[in-house]
Amino acid sequence: MICEQCGKQEATVHVTSIVNGTKTEHHLCADCQSKENGQTMFSSFFDDTLFANQFFSNALYPLGQGGKQCPTCGMTWGDFNRTGRLGCDQCYTAFQGQVEPLIKRMQGTITYEGRYPKRGAGHLHVEQQIQTLRKDLMKAVKEEQFEEACRIRDEIKQLTEQLKAQ
């Protein structure tokens, strides 16, 4: 294999680095390698890119502190502490242990009570509708609005069947 830098000499140094889940390979001849780093071949072992490697960072920061990474976007909890922003939707799962108490502190609760996406969460939408209707049903019965209660009960039945069909 020819050195990728000078394109002339045979590549004798092969470095594989995994940074943020992405693997890159470099193939250099001894001359270009030492020119590149101003160091010897062995000193490149202490190159930063190797420490970004998940294996090493887990050794340095055990128990998922600064080094814990989201497997999808590569963000670390340390990054979040710095920027206050998460990297992707999967971060909520990757850092659940840390994010959940944070949400609890900020919002006072970790229960979601809002609406569901109309199309994407189709069955969840219907489930939520049924939940609301059940509450309405109880209210109607309590207020002795029996006709209304019957109507709601029928609607619940219809939606439940719709749900089974999905």
């Binding site: 922003r85 998460l86 994010v99 949400i103 006072g108 009570e113």
Partner: protein, 355 residues
């Protein structure tokens, strides 16, 4: 449409608003959303940011259809910094989005009620505005846009945490409901601080719209909900509406007090402000906000024979809007103050009835 937006201080929706609703200037609903499977903005790269941008571009037609009006996409890179700042002054984009980066844009409806920011802190931020206290109506429009977008592209959403946002302070409903109010009498009767404290105690944020932090220049404040978890969107809006209705009652009571305690003193103050606006040759931004506040109060209490639109005037006094009006990229402070005074003189004169 871009020209209209940048040159006209009055957004079409500001012309609405029921009579007597001048304590509440506007209602705003903001929904934060992200697309599934695409890194959030701060973690995104050229490719992902560009993908979000392309997706939003492809939504122009369905959005137009859902809203029943034309919707334009403005790429912020194609504007000058001054033009971007005008959009901020008109409350169409946030200061954050105005600090141009790549692939940042905003979709605006013809009446400016709807503005959708693209690649701000989250992929999209839908904003819906209405004159007066109309959070319900603003919300209905926002949801219509939300559904139209989600119909084509899947949102990042979990049953557990709701709509997933870049910042956990927005996760859940992703809803920020806010109301802009003008409460001069509460300030003048010394009741403002107590009022603000009690609103904050029930979990809302109160921020002066102009000035640093909560300075409240022009007695204009923005009151917003803080929580996006543990409460439905409807409940959030209902509660905020009730809080504002109480606030309006208190402001009206305070105005009554001003009238009974010293009507002439009040008139003196209001007419003086009127005089300055009619004849001053230089007006700094801060001073003009205070003067306009008096004009609006005078109008509300029928003590000044003026008919002007407060929302419009607030925008006119903004530095970048003035700069754009003058056709100058940058202006000295004195030149700007001179132009501001001129524009206000003309506007107040035009709106004066019989003086």
């Amino acid at each position: 449409m871009l020209h209209t937006i940048l040159d006209q201080p009055l957004s079409p929706w500001m012309k609405d608003g029921k009579a007597g609703q001048t304590i509440v200037l506007s209602s705003r609903i903001r929904l934060a959303r992200n697309f599934q499977g695409i890194p959030f903005t701060s973690r995104g790269n050229q490719e992902s940011l560009s993908l979000v941008d392309r997706q939003m571009r492809s939504l122009l037609t369905p959005l137009q259809k859902a809203y029943g009006q034309s919707v334009s996409k403005i790429d912020l890179d194609s504007l000058t910094q001054q033009e971007r700042d005008v959009l901020v002054e008109k409350h169409l984009i946030s200061p954050n989005l105005a600090e141009a980066g790549t692939h940042r844009s905003v979709l605006i409806s013809e009446d400016s009620r709807i503005s959708i920011m693209v690649n701000e802190e989250d992929h999209i931020r839908i904003q819906s505005m209405e004159a007066g206290l109309q959070l319900d109506a603003a919300y209905a429009r926002a949801i219509a846009m939300d559904d139209a977008i989600e119909d084509k592209y899947t949102y990042a959403f979990s049953k557990q945490y709701g709509y997933l946002t870049a910042c956990p302070s927005n996760v859940g409903t992703g809803l920020r409901a806010s109301v802009m109010v003008h409460i001069p009498a509460l300030a003048m009767t010394g009741k403002l601080q107590r009022m603000i404290r009690s609103i904050i105690r029930i979990g809302y944020s109160v921020r002066g719209l102009y000035g640093e932090g909560s300075e409240g220049l022009g007695h204009v404040y923005q009151i917003s909900n803080q929580r996006t978890m543990g409460m439905s969107e409807e409940a959030t809006i209902e509660q905020l509406t009730k809080v504002i209705q109480e606030l309006v009652k208190e402001e009206e009571k305070a105005r009554g007090e001003l009238w009974t305690k010293d009507k002439e003193g009040l008139e003196d103050r209001l007419w003086r402000s009127y005089g300055v606006l009619r004849y001053a040759r230089r007006l700094a931004g801060e001073e003009s906000l205070a003067l306009l506040s008096d004009i609006q109060l005078g109008m509300d209490m029928k003590l000044l024979p003026v008919k002007v639109n407060f929302n419009e005037l607030l925008v006119i006094t903004r530095p970048n809007f003035l700069g754009k009006l003058l056709g100058k990229e940058s202006m000295g402070a004195l030149e700007r103050d001179s132009k501001r005074a001129e524009v206000l003189r003309n506007t107040i004169e035009r709106g004066s009835i019989g003086t």
